[in-house]
């Protein structure tokens, strides 16, 4: 018996490897496990060169851009000063509204909103295949990041943390076909779930045909999941099809974030 097994040890080994990979494959994507050991091997090896080369390229690119941008800096300065004045005025109005909102919430006895912290992180890697849309960032559980936290830029939401290791975390982008996010239409307050489709489009699902949604409407996070704050911009409506079969309308969303130009992100943790 032992001799029989020893004779076929490579076949047995291959069978075990197949079974192991199939078992891991059958697990839910949202509950990915078993990566810790491989993370511990591969991340310390690949992270420094990826980080260094990205940093060097970005520095060189900014230096190059900075040099050429000097040509138009004067006219841009005038425009920016005007924009700053407008934003300062808007900010004052918003601060007033925020204070009023806080007072009214206290008067009505609403639950206090949790304060959120923004942890800056750099992108050190992307998904090695084109099938999935994920990013690897240089902050992990040691930096206070946890699973499910929102990841955003100044423009809007990027995705959420799929997996957090000690030093790194994996971000599932909203354009990935496995991603789903509760949202609100800012103008009409219609609720739905946004799912990833392609690089440039997401689909808004489960929105009844009676709901008022128009092209150009801004989509924001609903805050239903307490980990992701309410009101982060997701994108804008670019196409609405009401005469589709079924109960729901087909709504296409253009994400606010340009995923091809991501360099740094913020992880929002309560």
């Amino acid at each position: 018996m032992l001799q029989f097994l020893l004779k076929r040890k490579s076949v047995i080994l291959i069978a075990i490897l197949f079974l192991l990979s199939l078992t891991l494959l059958a697990r839910d994507i949202e509950k990915r496990e078993g990566g810790g050991l491989f993370d511990a091997i591969i991340i310390p090896v690949l992270s420094p060169p990826l980080k260094l080369s990205t940093l060097a390229f970005n520095k060189a690119y900014r230096l190059w851009q900075g040099y050429f941008n000097l040509v138009s800096v004067r006219s841009e300065n005038v425009l920016l000063q005007k924009a700053v004045a407008d934003l300062q005025r808007d900010n004052q109005l918003l601060q007033e509204t925020a204070l009023e909102n806080r007072r009214l919430r206290e008067l009505l006895g609403f639950k206090k909103k949790l304060p959120y912290h923004f942890i800056p992180a750099e992108i050190i890697g992307r998904d090695p295949s084109s099938w999935f849309r994920t990013l690897l960032i240089d902050k992990g559980t040691d930096g206070g990041i946890r699973r499910g936290a929102a990841v955003m830029t100044a423009r809007g939401i990027v995705g959420k943390i799929l997996e957090a290791q000690k030093m790194t975390a994996k971000v599932l982008l909203i354009i990935d076909s496995n991603s789903a996010l509760d949202i609100l239409v800012q103008r009409s307050r219609a609720k739905g779930i946004i799912e990833g489709r392609t690089e440039e489009r997401c689909e808004l699902r489960f929105v009844s045909k009676n709901e008022d949604i128009q092209n150009g409407d801004i989509i924001v996070t609903s805050g239903l999941n307490e980990i992701i704050p309410k009101g982060i911009v997701v994108g804008a409506v670019v196409n609405v099809v009401r005469n589709s079969p079924g109960f729901f309308q087909l709504v296409e969303i253009k994400p606010a974030v340009d995923f091809s130009k991501l360099e740094e992100v913020f992880v929002v943790v309560p």
Binding site: S10, T54, I124, R126
Partner: protein, 185 residues
């Protein structure tokens, strides 16, 4: 053993290139699967033993999964499947010619795309994978096939250098005086 370490190192380097955030055209879905080309190449090599090679390609698959958003065993399964399949082909055909290896990359990339799609659909029932498949697959395939000759030539060069160096080392051992050889043994 050292040869296997060399291939692990090559796999890690290829993975680093593939997962680099600044890889040109990556955001248009053009991301060549260099590790897959390495797996196919390993499948054709006579010096790679079946059992150890299976462990090696599984390891490369798990390394890929560290960077990927896919299910954890997906790449390990796919790489192992192709390694074993080529192992079976190797018993019938001699796959050392670069033209045959290139043909393997073309056919393998098409089959890899189909297998990834079927596995994701079967295990995770993701109905939107088909849209991604139609959108991404032709671009990824075209780019993988375009870079494959360069990668295969590079791999052949590395393997030749390695075997020559080993031959030199072997020659040195055998050309030493018998007393030294005994001491060395």
């Amino acid at each position: 053993m050292r040869l296997y370490l060399l291939y692990v190192l090559l796999g890690v380097v290829f993975l680093g290139v593939q997962a680099h955030p600044l890889l040109p055209f990556a955001q248009q879905g053009i991301r060549p699967d260099l590790v897959f080309i390495l797996v196919l190449y390993l499948g054709t090599r006579p010096e790679i033993e079946r059992g150890s090679g299976a462990v090696l390609v599984s390891l490369l698959g798990y390394f890929c999964a560290v960077f990927s958003g896919g299910p954890f065993g997906l790449y390990a399964f796919v790489y192992l499947f192709f390694f074993v399949s080529i192992g079976l082909l190797k018993t019938v055909f001699v796959l050392r010619s670069i033209y045959l290896q290139l043909l393997l990359v073309v056919l393998g990339s098409i089959l890899e795309g189909c297998l990834l799609f079927i596995l994701c659909w079967a295990f995770h029932n993701n109905p939107h994978m088909l849209a991604s498949f139609k959108n991404i697959f032709p671009k990824q395939l075209a780019f993988t096939v375009a870079v494959a000759p360069v990668i295969l030539l590079f791999l052949q060069y590395i393997t030749n250098c390695w075997s020559q160096n080993n031959a030199i080392n072997l020659f040195r051992v055998f050309s030493q005086p018998s007393s030294v050889k005994t001491a060395a043994s």
